[in-house]
Symmetry: C3
Subunit: 155 residues, 3 copies
């Protein structure tokens, strides 16, 4: 299997764009059928502590999470803006490709104040499903353990 | 008409780079002959309020704006730094391509303090003119309605 | 010599990724054998003041610098996150290519606070060495003259 490099850029652009639009169903479609999505502080990961802020180790868990989010979003009082950096290909094997990309998320609240909300590193394992690139496994490593009000939104 | 994906990346890089260099004439050349350039808070756009912070619905209006800017820039006391994220292709039709890209602008003032100035989303309609990709229509959606001293510079 | 555009994106992704991982030896391998690496405020550069915050005009100087950094890093109490924007090709000649790319660096300290640390512009002259793209000359232009604790880390 060979991976189209531009397709990786497209996937990352879709990932951030769909989240910022609050279009969580389209975001969910970026994931492969069996998939995992975990968010944790970088420090926990480095120390081998598997404790995550979001832990979805099955597709069903991720779908449940998104459904809960869509309820919560009725009271959503901020907007997100993702900037995702250029991806690094870490490894390519067994029909999958491992990619890292840095990101920042800025949030704007109801008063119109915009601030830097989170920075970190995406680690993705991408697979081809029916000719399309999909996220099989995604680990969001946050640079800080102190992310306020994280549960309101995926990163 | 088929669009070269790398040419879209190049256009966005030129867009931000020319603005940050204060090279407004080269920035203007990125636009097609008939063109529109509008800047407005995202909220206004979503509510159908057409009130923009910058509204240039003709090429002449945009050129006037740039000329005024070049005068104002003699007293310019800050510098901008654009970061433009990976573009999403939204639609491709009729010899044009619609693209979205997130952005952040950081500003540095005369005291040397750098701060996050604005975040938002670019919506562009690109066309081919004499073999080169040009901006036919650009909408800059700001995440906040509260952008201070906006008029000093395009985003 | 023709340059693969995706290879330029890869090089920039590697540049930021290796720094953020603190993997300075891999970062050093991104540079050509004879190379220069300078960091200075944009203002100094524009005024023709050659005074830099980091000035490595030989490979040996850069290697010394990195070795010193690795010592200092034992006491490193922050982490960096680079976001590097899309590159602009400025010129291509004589087996080299000149590229500019904007960047932001966010830093997270031991208390878990993340803040915007620096913004600026990379100016790189890239060369091909044994089929791989390498940095022959790099100038990091900082938007501010007031970067605190700069010496702790390359940008």
């Amino acid at each position: 299997v060979s991976f189209d490099r531009l397709a990786i850029l497209d996937l990352l652009a879709e990932y951030g764009g769909r989240l910022d639009h609050g279009d969580y169903e389209a975001w969910l479609r970026l994931f492969a059928a069996p998939c995992r999505y975990n968010v944790m502080p970088r420090e926990n990961h480095e120390r081998g502590l598997p404790v995550g802020l979001i832990s979805c180790n099955t597709r069903a868990a991720l779908e449940d999470r998104i459904e809960a989010l869509q309820q919560a979003n009725k009271f959503n009082i901020h907007s997100d803006r993702h900037l995702i950096g250029l991806p690094r290909v870490i490894a390519e094997a067994d029909g999958g490709i491992e990619v890292e990309a840095p990101f920042t998320v800025c949030q704007t609240d109801q008063e119109g104040e915009t601030r830097l909300f989170a920075t970190g590193l995406y680690r993705l394992r991408l697979t081809l499903a029916a000719g399309s690139l999909r996220i099989g496994d995604m680990l969001v490593l946050l640079d800080t353990f102190a992310v306020p009000s994280l549960l309101a939104t995926p990163l």
